[in-house]
């Protein structure tokens, strides 16, 4: 009996390998290998002149030095941080509020929450196109509304000015991000034990107290994981910026991913592009560690 039990587990282990390995191998070939390629390229001097030839020189950290001494890198880093910060500051509380609201279980709650999620499904290139039109300085609906409501006296040239261009892409991203935050937090809310609330109600805790003393502490793991995931998705933004502003005007909305792309594909400096990509990847990995830590901790429970 015991032996067959053990045999079963050995068999199961082998089966599990056959379950997991195909996907792991696929991902390793498609993602890990390219990351390795980028690392190799960032220590060589690969540009227009020697891209096709085999004579690539190992140049140590020269490429990293050259991108880290260029002020554009710090502008892009700052922009990425600003973009990520403001996106999270808006999309998280708004998504949270909507999740709380729809958890009230009124008649249309589920339906409305459902169609709100549609925004999350809209392809980034379409989001960028629609918001680019809405933020148009001459014929955009946003200016029209703001002027109509007397909130501004003359039209704002949203995408032609550095600060407002950043604001515009943040708003577009927040729009797509709210349903993402909402649905993940709604998930966590549904798994909360209701008896704790009831007990608190009987003890005379008001809604605000219940929220700060019960909801928040109980949701904390979910909130951290939603925030880290949101951070990763926002920090690596590409399509939206590429289509909506192209990083412009000037470098005012340049983020790390568009900078890396520009180095490689408009300036043909493939090594610089790879190096910038690696820096972005390292920064993401640092935050990713928190995320992995959460996943692991959950594992142990």
């Amino acid at each position: 009996m015991k032996k067959s039990h053990q045999l079963y587990f050995v068999k199961q282990k082998l089966t599990v390998y056959t379950f997991v390995l195909p996907a792991v191998i696929f991902m390793a070939l498609m993602i890990i290998l390219p990351i390795g390629y980028n690392i190799v390229m960032s220590f060589e001097n690969v540009d227009l002149m020697n891209f096709t030839s085999k004579t690539k020189n190992f140049v140590g950290f020269d490429v990293y030095k050259s991108i880290l001494t260029n002020s554009v890198f710090y502008i892009a880093l700052k922009n990425t941080l600003i973009f990520t910060f403001w996106c999270l500051v808006f999309q998280f509380p708004l998504g949270f509020a909507m999740a709380m609201f729809y958890s009230l279980k009124f008649k249309m709650a589920e339906f409305l929450r459902g169609i709100t999620v549609v925004a999350w499904m809209v392809p980034m290139v379409a989001v960028a196109g629609v918001f680019k039109y809405m933020f148009n300085g001459d014929i955009g609906i946003i200016n029209e509304l703001l002027v109509g409501l007397h909130l501004i006296s003359k039209p704002i040239q949203w995408l032609s000015n550095g600060d407002t261009a950043m604001t515009s892409i943040i708003i577009a991203n927040v729009w797509k991000g709210i349903p993402f935050n909402m649905i993940l937090l709604a998930t966590a809310l549904t798994t909360m034990p209701t008896d704790v609330y009831e007990a608190a109600s009987i003890d005379g805790a008001n809604a605000f107290q219940r929220f700060t003393r019960i909801t928040i502490p109980l949701l904390k793991p979910a909130m951290i994981s939603v925030l880290t995931l949101g951070f990763i998705y926002t920090f690596k933004v590409f399509d939206l910026v590429y289509v909506m502003t192209g990083g412009g005007p000037g470098s005012s909305t340049e983020v790390l991913s568009t900078l890396a792309y520009r180095y490689s594909f408009t300036e043909y400096n493939f090594s610089q592009g790879a190096a910038a990509a690696n820096v972005l990847f390292v920064l993401l990995s640092l935050v990713g560690l928190i995320y992995i830590h959460i996943v692991r901790k959950e594992e142990d429970q």
């Binding site: 891209f51 032609s160 000015n161 408009t266």
Partner: protein
Amino acid sequence: MKKRILSAAVAVILTAAMFTGCASSGGSSTTTSGDSSKPTTLQMWYHISPDQAKVLLTFLDEYQSANPNIKIETQSVPFQEMKKQLSIGTAAGQLPDLALCDTVDNVSFAAMGVADDITTEVNAWGDIDNFYPGPKSSGMYNDKYYGLPFYSNCLSIMYNKDIFDKMKVPYPTSDWTWSDFIDKVHKTNSPDAFGLTMCLFKSEEGTFDELPFFWQAGADWNTLNTPQAVDGLKTINDLYTGHYMSKELISMTQADMCSSLFSTGKSAMMVAGSWLSKNIKNANPNLNYAAVPLPMVDGKNTASPIGGGNLMMLTKDKKAQTWDLMKWLNSKDNQQKYCEQAGYIPPRKDAADAGEIWKTDPILSVYQKSMANARARGPHPQWPQISSAIQFAVQDTLSGAKTPEQALKSASDEIAAIKK
């Protein structure tokens, strides 16, 4: 039950998609290889926009019906993606046999080893001396030929006569100066229409329109750290920040600015390439406009930057067939016909001389004259990086992120780093 039906439906769709997917992808990869019994297939990429591409495709059809053993497969690559596609295509050894690229990039691709050396073919052809020197040099690198200019264009100022009449401003003449130009921009500017429209987009199109402003001030890409360059940039900046141009220009391509500002009568003047004339005629046939050369400096019209497209050979094993197509497209008659229909200037002098349109058309004749005085951008094998630095200097200034001095300082630092 419902679930069953749903899952069955999903399964059917998935399987169907899988099969058709595999079938079509398999089919496409086999057609490329050449075979003596089958017609040779030539792959060609082009970057031109739909209006001009339609014209090109009729020419390719004509060639194919005259040469039944040749099949041409074309791929349209967006203008701003062409360089990327060619560079990664090179790394992967996946290139078309022939590509039509922006004239300014030809040297880069020659330096990169992407474009084939066609010196022998060109010399045997004997027609190359019929090309204007400017366009001809755009296909040359280290005294060898790496491309043939297929069409050319340059810049002039187009102006809306009705707006000038309404504002009671005399029309510009070919001997006008830069201060006349600024003066007319100011005087034609009104709440109904901007004085000027030019491309300030962050791409080669922007550099193309911006360069003459540096040139008239006595600066160029390699002297961006001079007071002259600051003057040039300030000229653009003053017009932009002074509301003589639409603020949206920073994110508009030339075709965009033409259709939304000039064609609709919302701008008195436009820094424009010749092909936009075709766009205007398509969008608003009634627009009452004319063209005039760039303003004068020291008694000479400011040089106009050469634009256009070059045909590059990239083939590995179909040299003869590709060259035959290149030669055919660049024959005097075909070049003349293509440029006529697409709204360009022929890079061949004999083609330009043969075509009545460049003498009689009030717009194209201005461009044709400017070609004689046209000037190449760069040329430099790393022009894309240089151009990018210029675009950033302009946009950083216009958006208020930097002063002209600061912006040009960092641009010239970047360019100095490239040069060595």
